[in-house]
Structures are given as structure tokens and as C-alpha cells.
């Protein structure tokens, strides 16, 4: 062996927990990345959609003849072209409508040689409507005398869910304190910086290729097929880089089948891309709800029961939004040790825009309620909320009433870490004492926590992922993974894990994950699952490749495979790090021998979790996690403005994999949660959106982002890759009620309806002051 004498030893070092750059960051920072919005294909036509612009109406007359005659127009489609192409969760949607059920209903679509021509063509379409009375609140739709919006959904009910555990009446009777409140989480929307876009093209065998922002490419085929009347197998899904998703691309929305129907009709590729105004009006929202929640406890602070009666505003169609009770009930039953639970939810059709999934998926709304009621109960019992939370915190090895198994539970550690780092208990007392003293500016501190699935969620029959991994003759590794990248950083995590297992430089790993004809099955980017699921899949595939390589090394080197390791691009002796052969050289020897072999492995990883099931009693995730936020705020009692001064975060992350990515996910998740808490609000008046622009719909900006003090609690999850848990939704879930609790600490005002906008806060403070003797 050429290197055996003098080569220096290669020390063992781990990448787990290091700060790894996103592999796609350089191209994104230099403007080189071609997003779907930037793409154009030869012969491509531009599609535009005519929206109804009214919430509920019959179409009396629809004349597209002038639009069809406009030079440059290649196709005009209407509801007549989409009859029977029903799609969606309960098949209540069609790509183009014959009856108007909400403002953004798609009435007609045009394909033309330019966007300008398509836009002109839309103006030439004549439509006469007969407006119908609408339903704009779920309470109104649930009334016995409410008009029926759909013949086949009695009582305007689309979906309903229930879970019961124990005797609520008895638990209520045994409670010393009960809080009873109604929370009204509002309409907000994802605001992806890259607007919705799809490009569709049929080949002459009738197979569709769709370039899409989808974050769930495989089930997407199944969901898209009925909207086109084709087979899922005849759809190829390509996922170019996207400008954000956050759950908004976890379903099929009408513009996608519209692009495909226009492509079919014209025989040319068609691109549909929304303007920002269209994006605001036609995108899914976070699910609004009316949550009537009751929580009880004993005099000593021990929780006795929690009940929630939830009415969801389904909107006009049923997407993922009304399915959020699946997670809402897990939080209702599993946020702290709740011995008795009664949860029920129903979704009511209205003529409002409809909700999809959005980072936090029902838990943002539920934690807004549970975390405020925890704070209120602590006050009634006269315990420091931190102490009250710790007293009721679950511990490792406990089950929730729905049989979520909290194998590694670090809730108490998170509470202690956040409480200590923020000096919560002292500040809370101090600020409460200053509440009634004179002075315009009041400081407040608030604590909130939540629980979320952190090892996927088996809401489909499978929650698994396929991985293909090859190592070529130059020791370059290609990972072909089902895991989608939507900006969250699975590219960095997969690269890191491969480099960790195979001892190759990070730059020598390539990820292919954007083509459903190439990459194997995955459920999609949702449920905080990708680092956990794809991380495990990647690690298992890399370990298989490593075993094959070391077996061959044993043959070539005459040293036992168990004593060898891959490090620094070499095969080394594990014990001393002495390099024995360069990896690429070994790979070529393997390839060019008498019995040649290539390193190409496959893996299918299915997490050990149970399907959700109709009873909702199942361990539906392979792991669960908690996070605690402490928000410190200053309230201007005159204007009602809330400034967030500092946020302390303690989160059970299982194990840090890519520290930089983890921090980024928490920071970004909190920014979305802050917008939800403070400023974001879709102002709907009788189903019409009044603020479809960034001027009037306020996202958090750089000056509003407070400093964060982050504490990662590493509970070392037995099922997670290297011990890691999923992390990305909890930051969005927990922050809003922490701010609401801080507002109470600062002013005595308790608000149940987000956002905590200045005018609302100022009015509540004024009302409270007036009501005092």
C-alpha cells in the first residue's frame, strides 16, 4: 500500500451539530437560481384566469366570443369545459366554475401569446351574474334556517371530528377553578414571496409534465388527476426552486389544472402565474375558527379536564384547512397532563375564501387558546405560571389520552431553561405590580408552550420515504431522495448526513429531488417531518453504501471491515485514523475487478408510527416535541402598539443536526407567528378581500424582529436521525399566545381574537380603565 508508512492519521470528527451552508445558497445569492416564476419553455403560452369578484352568484350569461377572436388568443375555457372534473378533499371543487361560491372562483381562463394579450382577452369576456345571498360566518351557516350552500352537505357541514376521554361532567364538578372562553383565530395567508405558478405541457402520448411549486409531489399526482380526467401515472411532477411554500402547496389549487387544461386544448406548454393581488385573493388561508374552550384545575393547580367545541369556517371548498382538528385535538388532549378531554369540531361551508394547510396546521389556533387558558388558570390558583406549567408538565414515558407516546419528553427542561434565561418569574411579578401605576408605556412578560408531532404524522397510509444513493468512481455521491426542498434546508441536512457517514467533503454530495419520474416516494414537506424522515432515510442508505465499501476494503486491504472507517475521503483504521487507501481509488478497484461492482443502494424508511385512524387513538408520530417561548414586550397604552423587545426560546430539538438551519427555521417560524399575533389580517367584508396587497396586509419587517435567545434542549430521540426531532412548526405555534400573555401581564387586558392590532389593544385598555372604579 502506497500510503501506509508516512500518511498522517485522520482524526474522527463529526459534522452533527455544526453550521452547514445551504448548498443552493450561492446561486440564490448571485441571482442565478431559476425559480419556476423565471422559467419559460419554447412555444409557451401564458394563461390568465377570470375571477368572479363576487361571493355567491349564478352565472346567467357568459360570452367568450370576443375574447376568442382577439389575435394572439389560443384558447378560452369556461365551466363547461370542467364539468365532472371534481377534485379536492371531498371532491367539492372543479377547476372552472359554473356557479360562484366565493370571490376568487375561476369563471374562465385564457391562453395567449403574452400575459398582456391574455389580460386583454379577460376584459372581453362578458358575464352576467345573478347574485345570491351569502353566508360569511360559520355560526350563520350552522343555523337551522341557514340557506343550504350545497345540496349534498346537510346543515352546510363539510367535515366533523370528535374525541372524548373520561367523564367531563364529573371532572367539571371536581374542579375548583374553570376558565371558559371563546377564541376567534382569524384569516391570514402564506404570502410566499414567489407567487403561485404552474407550467403544464402534454406530450403526444398524452402524458402531462407539470412544473409546480408542490411540496408533496407523489400524492399531488393522485389529487391532480381527477381535475383533468387522466390517470395519476400519466403525470410527471417537476419541482423547480420555489419562492416559499409554508404549507400553501400541500394541495392542488385550481390554477394548476387550469394550466394543464389550457395546455391540453392548445397542444402547447402553458404557464399560469399569479400577480400579488391574485395571490392574496386566490391563495389558501390559515383556517379561521371559533373555539369555545374550557379548562379546569384543582386548588393545587393540577389540571382536571379540557374541552373544546370548535366551529371552522370551511369557506367555499374543502382543502386541508378543515382537517386541522386532527392536530387541534392532539393539543387539546396533550398540551400538559389533561386527564379528561372532550373535543369536537365541525367545518361549515361559507362563501369566504377557503383554507389550506399553513405551518403550524391547526396548532397555531389551538395553542392560542390552550396557552392563554393555562395563564388564566395560574392566575386564578395564584401560582406563578411557570410553576403551574411545570406542575402539569408530562414526563418521558407518559402517554396522552390519544395514546401519543412521549418517549423522550423535555417539556419541564424547556420550561426551566426559558424561565431561567428570561428571569421570567421575577419580571412577571415586577411588571404586574406596575400595571396600575401611571405611565404611558408598560412592560410585560408572557410565557407559552406547546406540543407538536416531531417524527412525521401518519395521516396517510404511509409516512415513509424512498432514497437511492450512488457513489461514483470519483467518490462523488448522488442522493436521489423523495424529500422536497422549499427553502427549509433539507438539502443541507441530507448533504451533512452523507458527508458524516461516508467521510466525503460536503461539496462532493449532490441531491436530486425534484422530479417524480426519478426520485422515489415521499409524503411531502409537512408535519415538521423532513429532517426526521428524510434524515433517517438518507442515513440508512449511506450506511448501506458504507457497509458495501468497507466489505470490499476488507477484501483489498486484508483488514477486517469492522476495524475500518471512512474519513477524509479515505478508508482508515478506525482506532488510530491511519489512512489505508483513498476512497476514489478503492471505488475504481471495486469497479474494474474481475467481479465488478458499483456502489448503488436503495432504502425505504417507514417510521414506527400508527395510522391516525377514525378513533384518533393512535401513536401517530414517531416522536413528539415541546417548545417554550417567553416574550418580553412594551405596550404603548395610548396607541395600543406592542413592541416585542426580546424572545427567549427553549425547544426540544432531540439533537441539533445543522445548527445554522435550525436557528434559521426558528427565527423564520417566529416571524410568521409574530405577524399572526400582531399585524396580519385578511380584511373580509361579506366575502370580499379588502386588503390584497403588502401595503395593507402587514408582514413583519426587519425593524420589528426582536433579538432571540435560543436554547436547544437535546432529548436524544431514539427514533430520530442521530437523536434529532422535527422542529419547524413549533416556533410559529408558540409565540402568539406568549405575546397575548405578556399583554395581560403589562396591562391586565386579555384578548382572544388575533391579531393584537394597535386599535384593538388601545380600545381594550381604555375599556378596562373605564370599567375600574
Amino acid at each position: 500500500m502506497e500510503q501506509k508508512a508516512a500518511a498522517p492519521a485522520i482524526a474522527r470528527k463529526t459534522l452533527i451539530g455544526q453550521r452547514i451552508k445551504k448548498p443552493d445558497a450561492p446561486d440564490k445569492a448571485s441571482g442565478k437560481t431559476r425559480y419556476i416564476n423565471d422559467m419559460a419553455l419554447p412555444q409557451m403560452l401564458h394563461g390568465k384566469v377570470l375571477f368572479a369578484g363576487r361571493p355567491h352568484a349564478r352565472i346567467v350569461r357568459l360570452d367568450t366570443s370576443a375574447a376568442e377572436k382577439l389575435p394572439g388568443v389560443h384558447a378560452v375555457l369556461t365551466g363547461k369545459d370542467a364539468v365532472g372534473l371534481n377534485f379536492g378533499f371531498v371532491r367539492d371543487n372543479v377547476p372552472l366554475k359554473s356557479i360562484v361560491r366565493c370571490e376568487h372562483d375561476e369563471i374562465a381562463a385564457v391562453a395567449a401569446e403574452s400575459e398582456d394579450i391574455a389580460r386583454q382577452a379577460l376584459k372581453l369576456i362578458e358575464v352576467e351574474y345573478e347574485d345570491l345571498p351569502g353566508i360569511f360566518a360559520p355560526e350563520d351557516g350552522a343555523r337551522a334556517d341557514a340557506p343550504l350552500l350545497r345540496d349534498n352537505f346537510p346543515g352546510n357541514k363539510s367535515l366533523h371530528f370528535a374525541f372524548k376521554h373520561g367523564d367531563v361532567a364529573a371532572a367539571e364538578a371536581a374542579s375548583d377553578f374553570i376558565v371558559d372562553s371563546v377564541f376567534r383565530p382569524h384569516h391570514v395567508t402564506h404570502c410566499c414571496m414567489g407567487t403561485s405558478c404552474a407550467i403544464a405541457d402534454f406530450d403526444d402520448n398524452g402524458k402531462l409534465t407539470i412544473w409546480t411549486q408542490s411540496q408533496y409531489p407523489y400524492n399531488y399526482k393522485m389529487d391532480l388527476a381527477p381535475a383533468l380526467g387522466i390517470q395519476p401515472g400519466d403525470i410527471r411532477v417537476i419541482q423547480p426552486p420555489v419562492g416559499g411554500a409554508f404549507g400553501s402547496k400541500l394541495d392542488v389549487y385550481p390554477y394548476e389544472p387550469i394550466a394543464a387544461l389550457l395546455a391540453k386544448k392548445t397542444g402547447r406548454p402553458v404557464k399560469v402565474m399569479y400577480s400579488r393581488e391574485e395571490e392574496f385573493k386566490a391563495s389558501p388561508t390559515r383556517q379561521p375558527a371559533v373555539i369555545h374552550m374550557r379548562t379546569g384545575c384543582k386548588r393545587d393547580g393540577a389540571l382536571t379536564f379540557r374541552s373544546a367545541d370548535v366551529l371552522l369556517d370551511n369557506g367555499a371548498y374543502t382543502s386541508w384547512g378543515p382537517t386541522i382538528p386532527v392536530i387541534m385535538m392532539r393539543t387539546t388532549s396533550g398540551h400538559y397532563r389533561v386527564p379528561v378531554v372532550d373535543f369536537k369540531a365541525q367545518a361549515i361551508y361559507t362563501n369566504n375564501p377557503y383554507a389550506g394547510s399553513f405551518r403550524g396546521y391547526g396548532n397555531v389556533q389551538t395553542t392560542w387558546a390552550t396557552a392563554q387558558q393555562m395563564d388564566m388558570l395560574a392566575d386564578m390558583v395564584d401560582l406563578d405560571p411557570l410553576e403551574f406549567h411545570i406542575k402539569n408538565a408530562q414526563k418521558s414515558g407518559e402517554y396522552t389520552p390519544q395514546k401519543s407516546f412521549l418517549r423522550e419528553c423535555a417539556l419541564a427542561e424547556c420550561l426551566e431553561a426559558a424561565g431561567k434565561a428570561s428571569d421570567y418569574s421575577r419580571k412577571r411579578k415586577e411588571y404586574a405590580a406596575l400595571r396600575e401605576t401611571p405611565g404611558r408605556y408598560k412592560k410585560g412578560i408572557g410565557l407559552a408552550s406547546s406540543i407538536h408531532n416531531a417524527g412525521g404524522a401518519k395521516i396517510h397510509k404511509s409516512d415513509g420515504i424512498g432514497t437511492i444513493l450512488k457513489v461514483d468512481d470519483y467518490a462523488r455521491v448522488t442522493v436521489i431522495s423523495g424529500a422536497s426542498e422549499i427553502g427549509q434546508g433539507i438539502d443541507a441536512v441530507i448533504t451533512l448526513i452523507v458527508a458524516e457517514e461516508l467521510g466525503v467533503p460536503l461539496e462532493h454530495v449532490t441531491l436530486v429531488n425534484n422530479d417524480s419520474d426519478i426520485a422515489p416516494w415521499d409524503v411531502g414537506v409537512h408535519a415538521s417531518r423532513t429532517t426526521f424522515i428524510a434524515g433517517n432515510g438518507t442515513r440508512r442508505a449511506a450506511q448501506k453504501a458504507k457497509a458495501q465499501i468497507l466489505q470490499s476494503a476488507e477484501k483489498f486491504l486484508g483488514e477486517a471491515a469492522e476495524t475500518l472507517e471512512l474519513r477524509g475521503g479515505h478508508v482508515v483504521r478506525d482506532a488510530c485514523g491511519t489512512p489505508l487507501i483513498k476512497l476514489d481509488r478503492l471505488l475504481r478497484q471495486m469497479h474494474f475487478q474481475d467481479e465488478p461492482e458499483l456502489v448503488m443502494v436503495t432504502d425505504y424508511y417507514e417510521p414506527k408510527s400508527e395510522p391516525e385512524g377514525a378513533s384518533h387513538i393512535s401513536d401517530h408520530s414517531a416522536a413528539y416535541s415541546h417548545a417554550v417561548h417567553v416574550a418580553e414586550i412594551t405596550v404603548d397604552t395610548l396607541t395600543g402598539e406592542i413592541e416585542v423587545d426580546r424572545i427567549t426560546v427553549a425547544q426540544d430539538v432531540g439533537r441539533v443536526i445543522n445548527r445554522m438551519g435550525l436557528e434559521g427555521q426558528i427565527e423564520g417560524g417566529i416571524a410568521i407567528g409574530l405577524g399572526y399575533a400582531l399585524s396580519e389580517n385578511m380584511q373580509l367584508e361579506r366575502g370580499l378581500l379588502k386588503n390584497p396587497s403588502f401595503r395593507d396586509y402587514k408582514l413583519i419587517t426587519a425593524p420589528e424582529m426582536p433579538p432571540l435567545d435560543m436554547h436547544f434542549i437535546e432529548s436524544d430521540c431514539a427514533e430520530g436521525p442521530y437523536g434529532a426531532k422535527g422542529i419547524s412548526e413549533l416556533p410559529t405555534i408558540v409565540i402568539a399566545p406568549a405575546i397575548a400573555n405578556a399583554l395581560y401581564n403589562a396591562t391586565g387586558v386579555r384578548l382572544f381574537d388575533p391579531p393584537l392590532a394597535p386599535e384593538k389593544v388601545a380600545r381594550a385598555i381604555a375599556d378596562l380603565r373605564q370599567s375600574r372604579p
Binding site: R19, K21, K22, D24, A25, P26, K28, A29, S30, G31, K32, T33, R34, Y35, N37, D38, H190, C191, C192, M193, G194, T195, P241, V242, G243, G244, A245, F246, S275, R276, I486, G487, Q488, G489, M660, G661, E663, G664, E667, G668, G669, I670, A671, I672, S693, F694, R695, L699, I700, T701, A702, P703, M705, L708
Partner: protein, 161 residues
């Protein structure tokens, strides 16, 4: 019948010309006639900063600027920040500090950060926050963006810390 105007200007250091309609916006001109797709459309009304470019040394929202106004100007886009030696220090800092997630807003964010740092090499974090107020990002919560900007400001102040 629409009138076409001929304009001449400097684009990323090179003299160029274009024939344009009078209502065309600079964003459209850059993306559609010059293929410079790094400059992004995200709102079309000057609220989000994703289309930020440099015009005669100052940053502007290219979605609001008529293309006709490019005539005689010096325009720099995100593609023009890179030199033959590689990315400029601001671009590098954004990559190193993890400021890029989906990255869609980043060209505009980097153009604005580069402009701020060019004007004030010792930019503080607070000044950077104010200066980037017009650039929306939905992914990052701005923290790592500000870390990146601060790191460049530190390099420029003494190169030691």
C-alpha cells in the same frame, strides 16, 4: 398602435440599447429583454423590495420605474454584483451566515444591503434594520440577514473582530 422608444444605458458595466413601449416597467425590461431573472417580481407596487436594483448608485424598486427612465442611466442588477473574482463580500456573507432560505427575496435584499454598506461601511445592526425595512422576507425572520450585514460592517471597520 403603441409607440416604441429606443433607450441606451449602461447595464452591469456594459453599454446596451433597447426598444421599448412607453409604459413598460424596468423590471419587465430587465427580465424579459435582457434575461436578467435575478431581479424578482413579488408585488409590483414597491412594497416588498424583491425587484431592487441600483440606478446611478442608488437603489430603486424596478417594478415602479418606467423602463424609459433607464435612458442614459447606469443600472446594476444582482447579476452585476459578482466580479470575475467571485461573489462580492455581501453576497458571500449572506451565504456564510445562512441568510438564504427559499432565497426569492435575496437578490433585492442583497442589493439593498450592498447599497447601505457602500454608503456607511460601519453600519450598525439598528441602521441595517431600518435600511432593510422595505425588503420583505417570509422565510428567515431577518435575523441571519442582519448577522450577515453586520459581519461585513465589522470587516470594513477594522478587519479584526
Amino acid at each position: 398602435m403603441s409607440v416604441e422608444i429606443e433607450i441606451r444605458f449602461t447595464l452591469n458595466g456594459r453599454p446596451v440599447s433597447a426598444r421599448i413601449g412607453p409604459t413598460m416597467k424596468t423590471l419587465t425590461l430587465l427580465r424579459e429583454q435582457f434575461g436578467l431573472s435575478g431581479t424578482k417580481y413579488a408585488c409590483g407596487e414597491g412594497e416588498c423590495g424583491a425587484c431592487t436594483i441600483r440606478v446611478d448608485g442608488k437603489t430603486q424598486n424596478s417594478c415602479l420605474m418606467f423602463a424609459a427612465d433607464c435612458d442614459g442611466r447606469e443600472i446594476v442588477t444582482i447579476e452585476g454584483l459578482k466580479t470575475p473574482a467571485g461573489m462580492n463580500p455581501v453576497q458571500k456573507a449572506f451565504v456564510e451566515h445562512g441568510a438564504v432560505q427559499c432565497g426569492f427575496c435575496m437578490p433585492g435584499m442583497i442589493m439593498q444591503a450592498d447599497y447601505l454598506l457602500g454608503n456607511n461601511p460601519q453600519l450598525t445592526r439598528q441602521e441595517a434594520q431600518r435600511g432593510l425595512e422595505g425588503n420583505l422576507c417570509r422565510c428567515t425572520g431577518y435575523t441571519k440577514v442582519l448577522d450577515a450585514v453586520e459581519s461585513v460592517a465589522r470587516q470594513k471597520c477594522c478587519g479584526q473582530c
